[in-house]
């Protein structure tokens, strides 16, 4: 049975109304309790949300003055969150690909350096995002390895730290073609001094962003 808003009727007998009223109170509590701490909960949290389930909307709802809407709509086969400012302003995408939507999604971030360990591998410091290992290829060239990306059209930032005052130039490895330096599973980076001599930086950071 479901909640019936049209009971009791003036000509209903008590025995009929009793069961209908009972069902309504039960349904009210059950339905409310799907997303909320239920009316009959002993907790002082009753009435608050456990989680907000947003059923995909076929069309964008309308916002009035002094309110902000949050709802879900289908995007590429997934229910993603949209938000709409007051006065029915343009909606904008709030989540995409499992993250808050900003247009660029970081997929790799790693802080690495010496000492080099058996492999030869660079030491990864702290917690990395996406990167699995960093290979030292010699001549100041390192290969940052990561799980396969859909393509090699991404943005990168490469920055080295030296234990001297000599400038260290940090860039994508130009000793090979771009398609061999920036691939779907690794990025080759190169560190060298102003006289083009190679450098093994004490530390370096690499960040890769993809179009989101």
């Amino acid at each position: 049975m479901v909640f019936d808003p049209a009971i009791p009727q003036p000509n209903d007998i008590i025995s009929t109304s009793q069961s209908e009223l009972l069902e309504n109170f039960t349904q009210l509590n059950t339905v409310f309790g799907v997303n909320h701490v239920a009316f009959d909960a002993a907790s002082s949290d009753k009435g608050k949300h456990k989680f907000v389930t947003m059923v995909q909307q076929a069309t964008s709802p309308t916002s009035q003055a002094n309110e902000y809407l949050m709802y879900s709509k289908e995007l590429s086969g997934k229910a993603e969150i949209y938000v709409k400012p007051q006065n029915n302003a343009d909606e904008y995408l709030f989540t995409k690909s499992g993250s808050v939507y900003t247009g660029l999604l970081p997929v790799v971030a790693v802080n690495f350096g010496t000492p080099l360990i058996a492999g030869p591998l660079a030491t990864i410091y702290g917690t990395a995002l996406g990167a699995t290992t960093v290979d030292s290829l010699g001549s100041g060239i390192f290969k940052v390895n990561f799980p396969a990306l859909p393509d090699n059209n991404y943005f990168w930032s490469i920055s080295g730290f030296q234990n001297t005052s000599a400038p260290v130039i940090s860039q994508i490895d130009n000793t090979v073609a771009y398609a061999s330096a920036a691939t779907t599973t690794f990025l080759r980076v190169r560190f060298f001094q102003t006289d083009s001599s190679s450098v093994t930086p004490l530390r370096a950071t690499v960040i890769i962003w993809r179009f989101q």
Binding site: I14, Q18, S19, L21, L22, F25, L28, N29, V37, D40, A42, D45, K46, G47, K48, H49, K50, F51, V52, T53, M54, V55, Q56, E67, M70, S72, K78, A79, E80, I81, T95, G98, S99, T102, L105, P106, V107, A109, V110, N111, Y125, G126, T127, A128, L129, S157, S159, F161, N163, S165, A166, P167, V168, S170, T194, L202, T205, V206, I207, Q212
Partner: protein, 239 residues
């Protein structure tokens, strides 16, 4: 008295049921949400007693009680919730193996990275401003920075700065993006190199509470600071 979902019983008298109904309606009314007063904002929803058509049925706020596990999500749905200690906001779409974290450390997590600090400054260590114009045409200057206390020049007149963080990053193993315009403005000749300041030990230049940046001549001596007119820094950690 609290809410009773199991009333009225078939054996109840009207006098008993009437009180039960009152108790239930009062509990629902308060639990669902009351109108906001200067001193109170009870419940997440606009009150059931609200008469304005524009407001009835809507939310005032959404309090997300921490969940022990990711909620189940059916087809054509997504769920927004909180989890963890301290709680952070997650969302889970239909088909996701688990939830996706949206906040961490009081900031938005984008793809698993948090922007922990950023700043845009000039060669004199002045933090630059963003001009914001409101609907009345009034302009406000807002410093382009987050979690930055100060920029201190390390060597007088030289491209050598210590950027101090307001709150500790919590680790020195963060990821930085440090870029600058190098070379005297108005000239075609590129000059100098900009990077984290070289030092015998990493900890001398990169720490949880500061980072040192420098501009160098080709021979490794520090550039005059005016040769690095614009600098920006971003600091990220994993969420």
């Amino acid at each position: 008295m609290g809410y009773k979902p199991g009333i009225p019983l078939s054996t109840d008298y009207i006098a008993q049921s009437q009180q039960d109904f009152i108790n239930n309606f009062e509990t629902v009314n308060k639990t669902y949400g009351l109108s906001v007063t200067p001193t109170e904002n009870v419940g997440d929803h606009v009150a059931l007693t609200e008469t304005s058509e524009e407001l009835i049925g809507k939310h005032k706020k959404t309090t997300l009680i921490k969940q022990a596990a990711d909620p189940t999500v059916a087809a054509s749905e997504c769920a927004l919730y909180s989890k963890g200690t301290p709680p952070n906001i997650y969302y889970r779409r239909d088909g996701d193996a688990s939830g996706n974290q949206l906040t961490s450390n009081g900031r938005i997590s984008v793809g698993g990275l948090i922007l922990r600090a950023y700043v845009l400054f000039d060669w004199q260590g002045n933090i630059l401003n963003n001009s914001i114009v409101d609907s009345d045409g009034n302009k406000t200057e807002v410093p382009i920075k987050h979690n930055i206390t100060s920029i201190v020049q390390g060597t007088a007149g030289k491209a050598d700065w210590t950027v101090n963080f307001t709150d500790t990053i919590g680790t020195a193993d963060y990821f930085w993006v440090a870029q600058a315009l190098t070379g005297k403005e108005g000239t075609l000749t590129p000059r100098g190199y900009f990077q984290v300041k070289g030092a015998a030990a990493y900890a001398t230049s990169v720490a949880a509470t500061f980072i040192k940046l420098a501009g160098y001549e080709k021979n490794g001596t520090l550039l005059a600071s005016f040769n690095v007119p614009r600098i920006y820094l971003q600091v990220y950690t994993v969420a």
